[in-house]
């Protein structure tokens, strides 16, 4: 007799919690550093098609909520492709435990590697038709700098986070984090390898908080 009575209460509580998560939002602006000059491709000893014009993305920030959150059993697979001799996109934020694939969309070899303490790997040389797509699982939180052993100018970043609540700002620095749990946390804004800004936040169910990182 107890079980049927208990179930509707649990369902109502879950609904309330889900509604609260969906409604709790932080938005704001992060002051971004100036864009670096676009890289110059070293073409001294090779024939480069596409004329060696490297597209560059302006800086972005990764804003994330730091706290103790449970890790989901299955995280979606992410991709960081190489196209026109550049990483697309050059900054990827993932939760620790995420598998990232590195598809080669160029008609030449790429050789992606990282010597960052958070993840050391070397995928070797691979073509666009390589199957399965070369991938790595990023288990340890931290910044992973990606390079290509063949194309010296290529740089990519993967920011591995111990939280499911993160977002990447637009190129103006605007961000919006949704579906957050109520509670007391630290909100961080990763700007570059040397700069991470932070502020304590008190999140209440159903509210929208505006927070800037000057």
């Amino acid at each position: 007799m107890r079980l049927p009575l208990f179930l509707p209460i649990v369902c109502v509580l879950l609904l309330i919690r889900t509604t609260c998560l969906a409604d709790t939002v932080i938005e704001g602006h992060v002051t971004l550093p100036k864009s670096h000059a676009a890289p110059v491709m070293n073409k001294r000893y090779e024939i480069v098609t596409k004329n060696g014009v490297v597209a560059t993305d302006p800086p972005r920030a990764v804003v994330y909520l730091e706290g103790k959150f449970s890790k989901p059993a299955n995280l979606p697979v992410q991709q960081m492709a190489q196209k026109n001799l550049a990483f697309v996109t050059p900054l990827l934020a993932v939760q620790a435990g995420t598998k990232v694939e590195f598809p080669n969309l160029d008609d030449t070899f790429h050789n992606i590697f990282s010597y960052s303490p958070a993840k050391r790997f070397d995928l070797g040389r691979y073509r666009s038709d390589e199957r399965p797509i070369p991938s790595q699982v990023f288990d340890v939180a931290g910044l992973v700098t990606l390079h290509c052993d063949i194309h010296e100018h290529m740089r990519g970043l993967i920011l591995v986070l111990d939280t499911p609540h993160f977002t990447t700002s637009d190129t103006e620095g605007h961000y919006r984090l949704t579906g957050l749990p109520a509670g007391h946390y630290t909100l961080k804004a990763w700007v570059d390898s040397k700069t991470t800004k932070e502020q304590p936040v008190d999140l209440k169910s159903g509210g929208t908080l505006h927070l800037d990182f000057p």
Binding site: K43, Y45, N51, V53, T108, S114, T145
Partner: protein, 415 residues
Amino acid sequence: MKIARTFLYLLLAATVEARAQSIIEQLDNALTFSAFDGSCRVRLSGLVDLEAYHLEQPAPALIDTDRHALFNPRLSLFLDAQFGSHVYAFAQSRVDRGFDPSDSGGRMRLDEYAVRVTPWDDGRFNVQAGKFSTVVGNWAPRHDSWENPFINAPLPYENPTGVWDSMVPEETYDLLQWSHVNATDKPQDVYADKYLRNPIIWGPSYATGMSVFGALGKFDYAAEIKNSALSSRPEAWNITDVGFSHPTYSGRLGWRPDEMWKFGISASVGPYLMPSAASTVPPGHGFGDYREILLGQDIRFAWHHFQLWAEFFEVRFDIPGIAHADTFSYYIEGRYQITPQFFAALRWNQQLFGSIRNDDNELQRWGRDAARIDIALGYRFTEYTQLKLQYSLLREDPAQNRYNNLFAVQFTLRF
């Protein structure tokens, strides 16, 4: 002790990854300049190489020292500039103890400079003028210390033959003397005149001239006209030192069935004598009449963590009174990435000499056949620092079983 201490300090610095990387990343950003809304971009980069050799005398290849140990530091500065999407320029300047490892004093050179125009976006046609490495073969594009898994060059690029570019032999006996093929030659005599002798290709051959090259589907092509032959010494590469009156013509055709395989055939023909040899050539001839003719074949294979390269060269020198002196040289080289940071490489090199008729009308080899095995181990501490260790065993003139051991270590900082 000083060398060992320097290496130790550098190793320690290299292992402090975060700080060292941060400094180099800052430097990298600081050395990239942009103007006119990004349409003009310039980047300065470089390599600092600290090399040490432990060797047996006579010093092998083009190493110039009479000691058993040699410290050879080198700073290479590169400039890459992109102007719009169709014009690219580059330059390389070096501060070292000589183009080839030596114990002489420090000096500074401008090894490369060139301007390239690429009219079409797909790379089908490029034209380049300046002083730059040869289009022949597949070693030149990977000859710098970061790309080369070894510390030295393959044998065809550094093994001195008996051919001199400063004068011609009066008779066959002279050529055989210069080649040191006689059993009576003492080891110290063999290398006393080493710098007068020429290899079949002198390093990457940064001669001055012009080239056209491009890629058309699975094929690529390159042709160049340069002021001096592939065997010519670094002093002959400058347009100011040797004019353009006797050019060398070289070319390469490449075929890429897929990204894994690359095949190429090369050819080069041009006078190898320096203008200073003019007074020694037979009457009625000029120094430009005696040519080096080279045919080359190259292969490259790459898949995942394994890479393989091979080059084969058949070379003929026109020599007054002797007609032709032929030699064949090749190497096969493999590199395997054992872990993300640790790699190993193995190279087998050989040079074989043809026969000429000596003054007694007997056939005799005009050079000392040589075989060399190179073994190297490398470790990349960071994206910017690398350490390589190499052992080479050279066996010259199999009949006399002459061996030479060489140990080398090289620390490279890239920025």
